[in-house]
């Protein structure tokens, strides 16, 4: 079998201790949450941190507080199996659905919300064993120079493949990052950068501690539609996340739409959202135009499952289905 590389394991017992060791070790360390992304990556030597800071013993990161009226705060170590149910499912069903479509039930019992947001970007030239990557001379994301997806390119196009990230962006959620030096609370959308290598704005000494869901507003509707090969197990090749507020008469008062898995970060479909405001989702013409605008921003590359042409071809159809669901 494939063995993990050698590493030092640190097990802080409190948040204070956790941010202290992270501060001490900086880029030499990575936080370990459920390990469902990081551990396989380490086996394949995609990530080889000298130190792992295990978050299992940090009780503060499991705290959940608030409600639909005030907004909900979920500790970063909240497991996806919990996000699928309960308060989240009642108030922000799209987030529950996104969590419920991650991987498999066994993985969701271990995987965390924080880990899902910080998930490494994915690429079929990168999510491979060390030997495999050596056989292609590696690539820009690690150890190599060329990007095999776009050989002329000077950046990496690895794909943001988190299911919850586009939903949290669409919901207008915020996240708290904490370091030895203090805390900052930023919009979820600002956690991500459009670069396959430096895809998070999180500093190495920062820990993601909590996710804040805004209060549920009257007339709020949310949706997440995930396109992938199989009904379980698979990462998204397209995620359509949307939040609208509808007037009593069914007119769109505000809208936010984000696409997942078609770029190195969740992509905001602002033109589509702006177009929807003042219109009605029941109108098929509106849906068709909005879905056209939405998928214009998608930049899928030939580095995920399924063919590029097909993914491009059906993106609009999937966006339309998501919008119809929002309106129904």
């Amino acid at each position: 079998m494939m063995r993990l590389p050698r590493f030092r394991y640190l097990a802080p017992a409190s948040l204070l201790e956790a941010v202290k060791v992270l501060g001490d070790l900086g880029p030499e360390a990575l936080p370990l949450a459920g390990g469902t992304d990081l551990v396989p990556n380490m086996k394949r030597r995609q990530q080889t941190p000298a130190n792992l800071v295990g978050l299992r013993g940090v009780a503060e990161l499991r705290a959940v507080s608030g409600d639909a009226a005030r907004g909900l705060t979920l500790g970063a170590m909240t497991r996806l199996a919990e996000v699928e149910r309960g308060a989240v499912a009642a108030g922000w069903p799209a987030l529950a659905r996104a969590a419920a479509t991650v991987a498999t039930p066994a993985i969701r019992n271990t995987a965390t919300l924080g880990g899902n947001l910080c998930l490494d970007t994915r690429c079929s030239y990168y999510d491979q064993t060390e030997e495999w990557r050596r056989s292609i001379g590696y690539c820009m994301k690690r150890e190599g120079e060329t990007c095999w997806v776009a050989p002329g390119s000077d950046r990496c196009w690895a794909v943001s493949s988190s299911d919850t990230a586009p939903v949290l962006c669409a919901l207008g959620a915020e996240v708290t990052l904490r370091s030895r030096g203090g805390e900052r609370r930023i919009p979820a959308a600002d956690l991500f950068a459009d670069d396959g290598i430096r895809h998070l704005t999180r500093r190495p000494d920062e820990l993601l501690t909590a996710v804040h869901l805004p209060p549920v507003e009257p007339g709020q509707r949310t949706v997440y539609l995930k396109l992938r090969r199989r009904g379980s197990f698979d990462f998204p090749v397209l995620g359509v996340a949307g939040r609208v507020r509808l007037s009593a008469g069914g007119t769109v008062e505000s809208a936010r739409i984000f696409l997942g898995a078609v770029g190195s970060r969740p992509q905001e479909a602002r033109a589509a959202a702006d177009f929807l405001v003042g219109r009605r989702l029941g109108d098929e013409e509106t849906v068709r135009e909005a879905s056209r605008l939405a998928t214009q921003i998608a930049k899928p590359m030939q580095n995920t499952d399924l063919t590029l042409g097909w993914r491009k071809g059906v993106a609009r159809e999937y966006a339309a289905r998501a919008l119809r669901e929002l309106g129904s």
């Binding site: 079998m1 494939m2 063995r3 993990l4 050698r6 079929s124 999510d127 491979q128 064993t129 060390e130 030997e131 495999w132 050596r134 056989s135 292609i136 001379g137 060329t146 095999w148 050989p151 090969r229 199989r230 009904g231 379980s232 197990f233 698979d234 499952d305 399924l306 063919t307 042409g309 097909w310 071809g313 059906v314 159809e317 999937y318």
Partner: protein
């Protein structure tokens, strides 16, 4: 010895004075009162599987065991200039590094394809070909040191596809083969097909492609080797064929076979992927010999993808002439992408043509097959070995023909089914056939007549049928020796131990062995202990592939058990003072059928037999009947009997996205007799699963980098996550119908069930997609983008546009039986010279 007497009538608890003629092993009657056969009894090995106590190969270890990692080629095609292990050897804990120099002798599965070295010594032929092995105190150290082995290559041109192989004379991947980079070419004319096509009312032509895919067993390969103090080598390995590993070890390591023992523990699936002897098995044995310590190797999932030996990607062209609704001539050409080594390839290429004839009547038949070498992991046998590809082609081709002829494809198949007891165009002998029964069963169960074509746009039904061998008629490696043997030992406590070389890959062969012995001896299945998969503890069995174990081991078990029964009967007769012919074996007793109270317990009968003539141990063996084809190459395809299957698939197709959802599958399988109906259904559903998974998504696909920048050719997705196969989500309900018409060749009438039901699934799906959307996808897998592309195409088709030019050799001319042939080729001069009395 009583052992040698004529076998008594059987089966089961029937008086021995039955005056019907003694049937051959496997003959069937109404079989009244069978105690174990046909009952849904719990499998003998299932508790260990469920509780996790079964020990698989990777569960074996020994105190002080070392660990081995293979260093694999990172280039697809190159001369191997040097291997420098000094850095690896300097690592603390590393015990030795082996290289190609340690393995001068080539080996291979088929006698004609001895083209592998345990570690490459002059060339590497694909990314993953092993060049060195590092042996260390623990697995991590071995893995880390393996990365330090420096290998110098002189790159050669990468040959990635059969088209490139056919077009490239130099460099050659191997220096043998029927043409440069062509491993094997075969050509047969069973009658004059061009003339038949010329005289046909209509001639149809199609091209198909069946993508390669791999076995994906849950259990990864692992092996443990050690040398006893007396110098005997033992290898425990997850292999489907312990005896092939045994043979390969003896050859490649130049060891006396008598000093080698191979143990094949139960496997977590094989599906053909563990039938070749593998380099890691030989290298780990060598490492044990060199270090004097036990050595263990456990392959990673990625390495299992590189071992491969899976389904050959196959391009096909079919031509069929139809007159008055029947096939007057049929032609098949296949081009197989064989990958880097021979493996079973010579057989595989023959199989893409051999069973084309056994389902529907065809007057004349023409077959051309070509297997190419490419710089990819070698292809070999996977469930259905070489036949799913042409079966897909044929069944879709027929669906199109029926559409043009305006006939119901189910009716056409029923009308044209090969009748029982027929020698078909290429001389395969069909005995019993449940083809019509299977077709009728799925037609009825699915509501075919009422529902087909009436489900509305986007929903459709498709049908297909197929046939498969129940064991191969000819052994690849053992000439005229029996294909299997069973040995029984009866103990004084009434226990029975059955020894056989067969290995249980999860299909239930241990259960079959216990069940048959128990049936004959009238004891409980649980009283029979089986010892299998061990070359030192059981007679040779050719292993779990080719759907051969139940028929071959089963018949041998009957023979052995009947010989034991005879000995017990003779002793019990003396003791009870009744004629042996009046004795019945049932319920753990041996008794007088006319006075059932008068009898012995089974244990007492064993004791009496021992007192009479010594330890009760008997043997049985089995060889298939002599095949009817007598032409060269006719050894691939004959079988003691063929199973038949039919399936109807119901699909829901999304016209906007091309996505498919299979709603239900009805499958009927002609099993002869289900020895255990629950286990048999499990095999059917497992086959359906695998067939559907291939049909919808599985692809052993390779990635090439821009040739200007790199020669790389790597497996696209060597992982369980990214190599897509069906999950529970995509698996529809399967309605299984077992068609039982016992066949005289099988034990209690049983035929195979492990492979056949896979075959109709891919074509039935393709035909259902056509019913749903009116498009033809002439390729497997049928992925969403192909469906969309077909919807957009002017001819509403997606599939291969061309068929490559192949330098076909002069065909062997073999007249079909009804054109006066005798099963020999009329133009095989080389062969005729060898046949005594043949005219020049």
């Amino acid at each position: 010895m009583a052992d040698d007497r004529e076998a008594a009538p059987r089966p089961g608890p029937r008086a021995l004075d039955d005056d019907r003629p003694a049937p051959r092993p496997g003959a069937v009657g109404p079989a009244p009162g069978l105690a174990a056969v046909g009952k849904p009894l719990r499998k003998v090995d299932v508790r260990g599987k469920v509780t996790g106590e079964t020990r698989f190969a990777d569960d074996y270890t020994m105190p002080g065991a070392l660990h081995m990692k293979l260093v694999r080629s990172t280039v697809p095609h190159a001369r191997l200039l040097s291997v420098d292990a000094s850095a690896a050897l300097a690592v603390k804990g590393v015990r030795c590094v082996l290289t190609g120099k340690d393995f001068p002798i080539a080996y291979g599965l088929m006698p004609v394809s001895q083209d592998e070295h345990p570690l490459c010594n002059d060339k590497v032929r694909f990314v993953g070909d092993p060049v060195a092995a590092v042996v260390a105190a623990d697995e991590l150290t071995a893995q880390e040191a393996a990365a330090l082995v420096r290998v110098e290559y002189e790159p050669l041109q990468t040959i990635a596809t059969p088209q490139e192989a056919l077009a490239t004379a130099d460099p050659r991947i191997h220096d043998y083969g029927d043409a440069p980079n062509v491993h094997k070419l075969v050509a047969f004319d069973f009658g004059d097909v061009p003339a038949a096509l010329a005289g046909a009312d209509q001639v149809f032509e199609d091209r198909f492609f069946y993508q390669g895919n791999t076995h994906l067993p849950i259990e990864q390969h692992a092996a443990l080797a050690w040398v006893d103090p007396d110098g005997r080598l033992t290898v425990v390995s997850s292999t489907q064929v312990a005896h092939y590993v045994h043979k390969a070890l003896a050859r490649a390591l130049a060891l006396p076979p008598a000093r080698i023992r191979v143990i094949a523990p139960p496997q977590g699936g094989g599906f053909g992927g563990k039938t070749d002897p593998f380099n890691h098995e030989i290298v780990v044995a060598k490492a044990a010999l060199v270090t004097g310590r036990p050595v263990k190797v456990a392959l990673s999932r990625e390495e299992v993808f590189l071992c491969h030996r899976g389904r050959h990607p196959t391009l096909m062209r079919m031509r069929t002439g139809v007159k008055d609704g029947r096939i007057v001539g049929h032609s098949v050409e296949t081009v197989l992408d064989g990958g880097a080594y021979g493996s079973y390839g010579v057989a595989s290429v023959h199989y893409t043509g051999a069973l084309e004839t056994v389902t529907y009547r065809m007057d004349r038949y023409r077959f051309r097959g070509c297997r190419t070498f490419t710089n990819k992991p070698p292809c070999g046998p996977k469930r259905g070995h070489g036949t799913p590809q042409p079966r897909f082609g044929l069944e879709v081709h027929l669906d199109k023909i029926c559409e043009k002829l305006g006939v119901d494809p189910a009716e056409w198949r029923i009308r044209n089914a090969v009748p029982p007891d027929t020698v078909v165009a290429n001389w395969m002998r069909v005995r019993t056939t449940g083809l019509v029964a299977c077709l009728e069963a799925v037609v009825k169960a699915s509501g075919w007549r009422e529902r087909r074509g009436r489900l509305g746009r986007g929903r459709g039904l498709g049908i297909a049928a197929s046939s498969y061998m129940t064991g191969a008629g000819i052994s690849i490696t053992f000439g005229d020796l029996p294909h299997t043997g069973v040995q029984l030992l009866l103990d004084r406590g009434g226990g029975v131990t059955a020894f056989c070389g067969a290995s249980d890959v999860g299909q239930g062969s241990d259960n079959v062995l216990a069940l048959i012995v128990a049936e004959v001896l009238g004891v409980e299945v649980g009283d029979v202990k089986v010892v299998t998969g061990d070359t030192s503890l059981g007679p040779v069995d050719l292993g779990s592939y080719s759907s051969r174990v139940t028929i071959m081991m089963g018949n041998a078990a009957i023979q052995a058990a009947e010989r034991a029964r005879d000995r017990l009967a003779a002793a019990a007769a003396a003791k009870l003072e009744v004629p042996a012919s009046r004795l019945c074996f049932a319920g753990g007793r041996v008794f007088d059928v006319e006075d059932p109270a008068r009898g012995l317990t089974f244990a007492e009968a064993v004791q009496r037999a021992e007192a009479q003539a010594g330890t009760v141990g008997t043997v049985g063996s089995y060889s298939p009947p002599t095949p009817t084809p007598r032409y060269k190459g006719g050894g691939v395809g004959p079988s003691p009997t063929y199973s038949y299957s039919a399936a109807v698939v119901e699909v829901e197709a999304d016209e906007a996205t091309g996505e498919l959802s299979v709603e239900k599958i009805w499958v009927a399988h002609d099993i002869g007799r289900a020895l255990n109906p629950v286990a048999a259904r499990g095999q059917v559903v497992g086959s359906v699963y695998m067939g559907l998974s291939e049909a919808l998504m599985e692809e052993q696909e390779f990635r090439r980098l821009p040739p200007k920048l790199s020669r790389a050719l790597v497996h696209q997705a060597p992982s369980m996550l990214e190599y897509k196969s069906l999950t529970f989500h995509e698996m529809p309900e399967v309605e299984t119908i077992l068609v039982e018409e016992p066949d005289a060749m099988g034990p209690y009438g049983a035929k195979e069930v492990g492979q056949g039901p896979l075959l109709p699934i891919p074509p039935a799906l393709a035909n259902a997609v056509h019913d749903a959307l009116g498009v033809r996808v002439d390729e497997v897998p049928i992925t969403p983008h192909k469906v969309l592309a077909a919807l957009a195409a002017p001819d509403r088709r997606y599939g291969p546009a061309a068929f490559p030019d192949v330098p076909w050799p002069e065909p062997l001319l073999v007249p079909p039986p009804w054109e006066g042939g005798d099963g020999k080729a009329t133009n095989d001069r080389k062969r005729e010279r060898r046949l005594p009395g043949a005219k020049p």
